[in-house]
Amino acid sequence: MTTLAIRAIRFDGKTAVARSVDVHIEGRDLTVVDDEVVLDRTRIDPSRVSERLQRAPRIIALEQGATLEVPDPDGSFDRALEAAGVEPSAVERMQRFWPAALCSLAGVAILAVVAYLHGIPAAANWLAFRFPPGVEQRFGDELMRQLDQRVFDPSTLAADRREAIARRFSEAAAKVAPDVAFRVEYRRMKEEAGVNALALPNGTIVLLDGLVDLANDDDALMGVLAHELGHVAHKHSLRTLLQALGTGAIAAVLWGDFSSVAANVSLTFGVLRYSREFELDADDFAIAFMNQNGIPLDPFADFFTRMEDAVSRKRGASPPEFLSSHPSTEERQRRLREAQVR
């Protein structure tokens, strides 16, 4: 039977007065004594004893709101408590034991990488195809309304040209992906024609006049539209949104404490990588689409060069790939040319 007397401070919970006391532990019983007067005698309840920290006192909740603060510089009180059945929890053991802490560090790194590479994309994919379609429709409609209000003007292309492109594409799409609902819309930017095409979550594919003019080739335009249809069919908008939420959550857990800037930077890099994957995925969709319809891929591949020239004339050299939302042009052209059925 171990007996131990240690100096401590007792607060009665009714006033702020600190009372110096002696604490005795005998077996599983704790006795608090001041000048031969016994203040408390209680069976030690592990749930009322604070966890051990290196330099903080042990805090013990007594009956009727009283508390003890027991300094324990040499660990003797801790040993007495352990003998009395106050065992450290599994988490406490991990916190005290360096190898376990370092394993936690490795665990954090592994979990974060696995979640980023596999967990989040899989969860987003699963969720995207179970999302109420009304919500997606609403997001797309609202986005289109705002774009029309803020950045787009009506297209100035000839109506018969617009119809011809849309009709040819609709017929081709009916063969390859009959159950994907989409609609082709023509617009131009307010200041310039705009060399771009985009797919919205509600299935709307927007072709800008600048792109139609620059392509000047219907086979290339079919490639562009097929690529955008790939985004629609695979729900890339919604998946991007969901993956950004997931990545944002991881970034906030890892770095949010330190700085929201650090969290946002890692979020941005993370989302850019997902975006490049989706671009390649949409290219693959376009390849299958074109091959099944017997449309040559070379005009589409050539168009990338013209498009890159047009963009770099305006904005300067393109950023390195890891800073970009799209894979490099060479990579995409190489994939298209390799897939061309000769």
């Binding site: 607060f11 006033t15 600190a18």
Partner: protein
């Protein structure tokens, strides 16, 4: 059990009276292990453990904060924190996405935030103060939902007014663009007033045992600090511009296009490293110099330059170690802030302690102290 014996024996060493300093006994290497285990379990449980992590972290920092021979303690219930976090997440998602959905959805969300915000603020303070103890007595926050509405609602209205008006403005400058400019500049001018109002609410309604803290109005001191901070931002921006020009010249000579983000990044860093510590240090000083608990007056010796040096060191080492220095940085910052605190009183602290009683049960605002835990960063 023997309580309240008339002749209490008090350690002579504690009764110095006059002034008391706080000390901090936490250590970076110890907190690192707590932090990394917390992080691991949080990631493993998809964030659910974060509430338990928060309790462990808060306990660590409070139990290592020492004043006059006794430490502070935290008693928050992790389940309450988890509930608070889920609610906060739901509100954040609603606020971030409702305007993408439709203007009506956005306005409805803002109306909900206006109604719930003051209540959440009061609940969060009650949770934070009510679960903190020192010398066996609890702190508290004595305010009702009505008080919250009266104090916090005007701030929320000003805060959201810009968002609401902006929702009606179109890109080509149509809609209430004049109103938007007016309202956003008015909210900027009112920012120090809003900040002061929240601090005043927090400190004037805080309680310890049966006593209430008091906070003298300090609006003009808040304005002065903000004006000086804006001056520093302007100086920082000028310096950053100069630096970006210096960086851009050699790039231009080698034929590379000058990257325009360098200036922005430098300005951001200058802002964070110098202006944030300056403003934080000054405002802390103002707030504590105006706070009292009966005959006890509070002071902090926190100063802009040492804080800036500490923040710079923390950022640099955290970046270099890919975040691993962060727990050491938290401990260093906590040590500095805690050890700057001083309590002045004409009466020796042990004498004051005799008169300090526990707060009677079921007093105003204490009732639901356990219902919600929320981090507001205030």
């Amino acid at each position: 059990m023997n309580e309240a014996a008339p002749a209490q024996r008090i350690d002579a060493a504690e009764g110095s009276g006059g002034a008391a300093r706080m000390t901090f006994t936490g250590r970076g290497d110890e907190y690192f292990r707590i932090w990394i285990v917390n992080l691991f379990l949080t990631v493993l449980t998809l964030g659910i453990y974060s509430a338990w992590a928060k309790v462990r972290k808060t306990k660590y920092f409070w139990q290592n904060s020492r004043l006059d021979g006794a430490v502070f303690d935290f008693h928050g219930n992790p389940v309450a924190i988890l509930k608070g976090r889920i609610l906060a997440l739901a509100l954040l998602v609603a606020y971030s996405w409702s305007f993408e959905f439709s203007v009506t959805a956005g306005l409805v969300t803002i109306a909900i935030l206006l109604a719930v915000g003051p209540w959440l603020f009061v609940k969060a303070q009650q949770f934070k103060f009510g679960n903190t103890s020192y010398r066996g007595l609890r702190f508290g926050f004595a305010a009702t939902y009505r008080d919250g509405l009266r104090i916090v609602l005007p701030i929320l209205v000003i805060w959201f007014s810009t968002t609401v008006v902006a929702a009606f403005v179109t890109a080509d400058g149509g809609g209430p663009i004049g109103t938007l400019l007016l309202i956003s500049s008015a909210s900027l001018l009112l920012l120090p007033w809003m900040h002061h109002r929240l601090k005043w609410f927090q400190h004037a309604r805080a309680t310890y045992g049966d006593r209430s803290f008091a906070f003298e109005i300090a609006t003009s001191a808040f304005y002065k600090t903000y004006v000086k901070a804006i001056g520093l931002v302007a100086a920082g921006a000028a310096a950053a511009f100069l630096a970006s020009v210096i960086v851009a010249i050699p790039l231009a000579l080698t034929g590379m296009p000058p990257p325009d983000w360098i200036g922005v990044a430098l300005a951001g860093l200058a802002m964070y490293v110098f202006v944030w510590p300056y403003t934080a240090a000054r405002l802390q000083k103002v707030v504590w110099d105006h706070t009292r608990l009966d005959e006890m007056r509070f002071h902090t010796q926190i100063a802009a330059w040492p804080l800036a040096k500490l923040v710079l060191r923390n950022i640099a080492l955290t970046l270099v170690t890919a975040g691993l220095y962060w727990p050491f940085a938290s401990v260093a910052l906590a040590r500095y802030r805690v050890e700057c605190m001083r309590i002045d009183t004409d009466v020796p602290l042990p004498t004051i302690a005799v008169g300090l009683q526990a707060r009677p049960a079921a007093a105003v605002g204490d009732a639901a102290a356990d219902s919600f835990g929320l981090d507001l960063g205030l």
